[in-house]
Amino acid sequence: MKKVLALFLVSILLLSACSSGSKEKANSGNAKDTKEITVWAWDPNFNIKAMNLAKEAYKSENPDLKIKIVENAQADIVQKLNTSLSSGTTKGLPNIVLIEDYRAQSFLKAYPDMFQELTGSFKAADFAPYKLAPTSLDGKNYGLPFDTGVTGLYVRTDYLEKAGYKVADLKDIDWKKYIEIGKKVKEATGKQMLTLDPKDLGLIRMMIQTSGSWYLKKDGVTPDIAGNAALKEAFKTYKEILDADLVKPVSDWSQFVAGFNSGDVATVPTGNWITPSIKSEASQAGKWAVVAMPKQTGINGSVNASNLGGSSWYVLNIPGKEKAMDFLAKTFGSNVDFYQTLNKEMGAIGTYKPAAEGEAYKAADEFFGGQKIISDFASWTEQIPQVNYGMHTYAIEDIIAVGMQDYLKGKDIDKVLADAQKQAEEQIK
């Protein structure tokens, strides 16, 4: 009796002693070594997707490197970069960041030591020359050119035919011809030629870049508004288009997309990145074609090629930069196959010239009636005049937009540009 009880008690004690002693866990494995790099970009359908493809492609090169891709709105990226870089802290910053070409110079000039020089890590000559100006500073490369904002004129062939035009009639035209055609199309179909957002002067920018001109002079600092013949011509053209009532006004992006998806407009003069949006309306397959951008009337050296938007990758001068550089150089910097994948998977056109030789670039697109649009865009890319976007593209555009309204209301063009020049000089000094 006694023994049984004693055994029972002892076994309970032992059990309770055992159960309390098994709760230790190895908590090791801290990633202090930079085995991970972070990338910031916007637009999950385009930039993020491209980065993910690059990550896949890089796996064969260096499978150990972890690449963390973070999606942020462009405005957030700009804000975060400005806050962090101006305060001098690098904490929380990514290794690689995507910056729009129009804004690139303002960052490079404001924080030159915070960006890692990429000169020599890729062959600059292999990229479209117009991309090199905004991504470089003092002859040094800082950005690795990514997508092209090469523009084209997307046209509705069915509407044109109703007005008695063929696609060939729109090849390499100037804006004068465009307005002429527009009037006919409107007469024949009742459709407007294009949509315009009064606060976004993208059309003006596209126009003046065909002539190798910009809001700023070559130094990237001095406003070039008064006496800028290309800009003056662009203003005139803009007014003529409006006066001819070829415009359907829109106030935002979704109205812009709805404009062509619903068949309200006959043309869309914009960057090639609009292709997916145009193709999203499958019922319009075969009704679209892309021709080169109209050039400016009466401006010497104006070509049928321009650019709108586009961005490039930058490496920040923080730990892990070597790995980030290597990653970029071996994907966006030199990998032809990668660019083919990029094009096949998402229709993206890079600015890497050797990639244009690839198969994917030569493929015909049935949506555009069998036109080899990628190949066309690639050839236009090479013709885009190189301009220095400088530091103040958007600031000056706000001033010009007000001037434009004045001009549309009847103010003298020279006075408008002179006033804008004065205001810009005061503001950006």
Partner: protein
């Protein structure tokens, strides 16, 4: 096997008290410790929950303030838009495209100004006019098309109550820009000319859900979640992104429950876990702000239940060991006592009880022992009294020489005298004299074997003289036995029995008297070859019909009692008999020299 079976119940029998006591104590200790542990845990949980809910309701109030300030910004912005003549013109008048371009531009300038009120938040403003003109600052996070907007529930609700600024949840799959997660809370208001009461459009502030989430996300943690529900029970914002847009009806019932009573918090089972739920009503949003805290994560770490339980178990075990040893000690003495008492009767009350251990058991032992002493005394006295009574009885019987015997014998002698047998007469008278002398005169209890045999011979002689010599009597006495002492008149009754009853049918025969020594025993046998008796009852003494013995008062029946009275149990008389073959009487006695 059988041994064992009996062994265990025996042990249990004597430990019964201990087992009952021990198990009751065990049950009590366990009950008490479990109750106390449980109560302690409950109480501290209650305490923590109370503290917790106070701090969390403060946090909730702060969050509520953030909501209010957002609402205020939206109200100011919407008032600005309402009072704008430019906007009213654009939304009411039919304009040419060129004029529209101009209006859009100025609207954008105005919007920039108005939006500065809302700079702290990621908000998109959409204005829709009755004339079909729509204006949006941007639609990155709320990619609703003009057509969709016109037909949406949001617009319908807004126009139904044109004077109210209302907040509604909306979800759009964001295919174009791919920004955000498509969850927005739309503040909407009808654009109404207050004087004429005419509604000329509606305005929308699309607030990204993540903006709302910022108000409270810093307070949340795993297990501490916040849900914002609209009045239809749809979760419009939460740090649990997956649940946004889902219906949560049970929350609504909590809300009405919590509105009605004054409880600051309730505890409910939600998503399979016990949760502490706090609620704030956001009047300007007409929404409910819920703070749901997993009880386990909130207070699970504060109270180490495992440790408390382990400590309790430890204490209980120690207590049990102590109780076991102590009560064992106490009850051991008692059970030993019980064991001794229980066996006392088996050992004729000679087994005394040990007077040890505790005071109580000592006293009991003492009492029992003195009781046993007295008992012995009584028994001894009783035995003595009985012996004396028996002796007296026997002595009385011994004295009673049957007058008939004397009469008959004397009659026989008279006839002998008449016949002239002088020698025969003399011998018979001599035998009678010595017989009477030995039975009456000698009052000492025992006689030697030789004396007893002399008496027997005299008795036989007298009887043979009276009845003839047809029954022969032989004596075989071992030489060394002659001086042993035996009770008086031991053999005479058996001789008488054989003489007068053994030969009723047989005309003649013999009776042998044998005396010898075997070890420490003296054995006497009276064997006849007479009629014998019926029955197999060997030890039974024959039933004599006569009440009176022929010679003295002592009969066959008395002999056995007498022997046992004098010498004890092991001794006595055995009789074996067979019909027609004779009877054998054997008497066992201890050897006693004088």
């Amino acid at each position: 096997m059988v041994e064992n079976m009996r062994f265990i119940p025996d042990r249990f029998k004597h430990n019964g008290l201990f087992i009952v006591m021990f198990f009751i104590t065990v049950m009590m200790i366990i009950t008490v410790s479990v109750t106390i542990t449980w109560t302690t845990i409950r109480m501290s949980e209650q305490f923590f929950i109370k503290k917790f809910s106070i701090t969390n309701s403060k946090v909730m109030n702060q969050v509520k303030e953030s909501f209010e300030s957002l609402n205020y910004s939206v109200v100011i912005a919407s008032n600005n838009l309402l009072s704008s003549g430019n906007i009213r013109r654009v939304l009411t008048e039919e304009e040419s495209n060129a004029e529209k371009m101009n209006s859009f531009f100025y609207m954008s300038q105005q919007m920039k100004h108005i939006k500065s009120n809302l700079d702290a938040y990621e908000i998109e403003i959409v204005v829709a006019g009755r004339n079909g003109v729509n204006y949006a600052t941007e639609r990155n996070y709320w990619p609703i098309s003009d057509e969709e907007l016109r037909k949406s529930v949001i617009t319908r609700n807004t126009l139904e109550e044109p004077k109210r600024l209302m907040y509604q949840y909306d979800h759009r799959n964001n295919q174009i820009t791919g920004l955000g997660d498509g969850n927005v809370i739309v503040a909407s208001r009808a654009l109404m000319d207050r004087i004429s009461g005419k509604v000329y459009g509606s305005l929308y502030f699309a607030i990204q859900e993540s903006e709302i989430r910022k108000f409270y996300s810093s307070y949340t943690s795993p297990g501490n979640n916040v849900y914002v529900l609209d009045k239809t029970g749809v979760i419009v914002s939460s740090n649990q992104g997956k649940l946004i847009g889902k219906k949560a009806d049970n929350f609504l019932s909590y809300a009405s429950g919590m509105k009605n009573n004054s409880h600051k918090y309730i505890i409910k089972n939600f998503m399979g876990k016990e949760q502490i739920i706090l609620m704030e009503y956001l009047p300007s949003f007409d929404m409910y702000l819920f703070n749901v805290i997993d009880k386990q994560t909130a207070i699970g770490d504060l109270i180490n239940k495992k440790e408390i339980v382990l400590i309790s178990i430890g204490i209980v075990l120690v207590a049990l060991v102590i109780v076991f040893l102590a009560s064992r000690r106490l009850t051991n003495s008692l059970s030993r006592l019980v064991k001794q008492i229980a066996n006392a009767s088996k050992y004729d009350f000679h087994q005394y009880v040990c007077e040890t251990d505790t005071y109580e058991t000592r006293q009991i032992g003492n009492a029992i022992n003195s009781m046993l002493d007295e008992l012995h005394e009584y028994v001894d006295k009783l035995v003595l009294a009985q012996k004396q009574q028996r002796n007296a009885e026997l002595a009385a019987l011994q004295q009673q020489i049957n007058p008939h015997f004397l009469y008959n014998t004397l009659t026989s002698i008279k006839f002998m005298v008449l016949q002239g047998g002088k020698e025969d007469t003399e011998a018979t008278i001599n035998a009678l004299i010595s017989l009477l002398q030995n039975t009456i005169g000698n009052v000492s209890e025992t006689v030697s074997v030789k004396q007893e045999l002399d008496n027997l011979k005299n008795y036989v002689f007298i009887n043979q003289k009276r009845y003839g010599n047809r029954i022969k009597v032989n004596y075989f006495v071992a030489q060394d036995c002659e001086e042993h002492q035996i009770p008086k008149l031991l053999l005479q009754p058996f001789m008488e029995n054989s003489f007068f009853h053994g030969f009723n049918h047989k005309p003649e025969g013999y009776i042998n008297v044998l005396v010898w020594q075997e070890g420490d025993n003296l054995i006497c046998e009276v064997v006849d070859n007479g009629d014998g008796m019926e029955g197999s009852l060997e030890s039974n003494l024959p039933h004599t019909k006569r009440k009176q013995q022929l010679f003295s008062g002592i009969g066959v029946k008395n002999v056995h009692e007498r022997i046992q009275l004098i010498y004890g149990e092991p001794y006595g008389v055995t009789i074996s008999s067979k019909l027609g073959e004779g009877t054998k009487v054997r008497i066992y006695l201890p050897i006693k020299e004088i």
